[in-house]
């Protein structure tokens, strides 16, 4: 019985055919995950913060808490 002739050509190409799609998939998955777990929630958080933002209410709360030095709390 004779041995099967070993494959000695196209090894890199075969390896690339196997690993390159995995590498691309991992890269794209991490990028898309970052986009939808960090970037988009951050944009939504900023939009939500400013959607109902009441400048006067926030300013007065900070003023009464004594945060500012240029304006004193009412009653002082």
């Amino acid at each position: 019985m004779s041995l099967q002739k070993p494959v000695m050509r196209g090894l890199l190409a075969r390896r690339l055919r196997f690993h390159l799609p995995i590498a691309i998939a991992i890269g794209l998955t991490s990028a898309v995950s970052f986009k939808y777990m960090v970037t988009e929630p951050r944009k939504r958080a900023y939009a939500e913060y400013y959607k109902h933002y009441d400048v006067n209410k926030e300013f007065n709360a900070m003023r009464e808490a004594g945060v500012f030095e240029s304006v004193q709390p009412t009653g002082k």
């Binding site: 090894l11 690993h19 590498a23 400048v55 300013f59």
Partner: protein, 230 residues
């Protein structure tokens, strides 16, 4: 403001800083994509049982790993230039504040209408009252109105300093003999801190910048009261 073990950028208080944060997220996403791919490639390379003798005639892979980075750099450059030009837009400022760096304090001048000038020294640690932040609070704050484009003209009296307020996306060198200009809009009221960002001597770490943003009507009252004190 900054807090211990902080990893990311401070929350934005100006529209430009919001854009900068989004650009940073975009670029970091690309860096993550490339890093994970490279890491996986390295991992498989060091654990493979094959020895690749096929390192000749590698035009294919050379082409790929030249063109792919070029495309990635274009993807980064486009939003980068967008934010860069946005920061340079002419925006008709409502107010001009002159900021002068000294060893080791800042002075501010509001000379649009009358001559209002004052110095801003860090409050020494032993003089802090309970609500004040160590190494950040100053005796006089740079007060600006909210929702108004503010122009800052920056220079220095002695050596190079740099004024920086991270939450507003502001950083500009203060260079003796030169006038630098930057503009910003404060989106909401509050108190925002920064520190001198160019080594300037023994007390470089002890000359912070404190910006107080209040609605315009209160800003007018403040400037009137400050002028009355002079």
């Amino acid at each position: 403001m900054a807090y211990p073990l902080q990893l990311g950028l401070q929350d934005a208080t100006s529209p430009v800083m919001e854009e900068l944060i989004q650009f940073h997220d975009h670029t970091l996403m690309i860096a993550l994509l490339v890093s994970t791919m490279v890491f996986y490639t390295i991992l498989t390379s060091v654990t493979t049982k094959l020895t690749n003798k096929n390192m000749l005639d590698s035009q294919g892979i050379e082409t790929i790993w030249t063109i792919a980075p070029a495309l990635i750099l274009i993807l980064i450059a486009m939003p980068s230039l967008r934010v860069l030009y946005m920061m340079d837009e002419v925006n008709n400022p409502h107010l001009t504040v002159k900021t002068i760096g000294h060893q080791w304090y800042w002075s501010y001048e509001y000379t649009d209408y009358k001559n209002l000038e004052f110095d801003s020294y860090m409050i020494p640690t032993q003089d802090l009252i309970p609500r004040q932040f160590r190494l950040f609070d100053t005796d006089h704050r740079m007060v600006v109105p909210t929702d108004s484009p503010v122009r800052m003209l920056i220079t220095a009296d002695d050596v190079i300093h740099s004024t920086a307020v991270p939450t507003l996306g502001v950083k500009m060198d203060a260079i003796p003999g030169r006038l630098n200009q930057t503009t910003f809009v404060v989106s909401h009221p509050g108190v925002f801190y920064g520190q001198c960002s160019e080594i300037c001597g023994a007390n470089h770490s002890f000359m912070p910048i404190t910006v107080e943003a209040i609605p315009l009507i209160h800003f007018e009252d403040w400037s009137t009261s400050m002028l009355a004190k002079i």
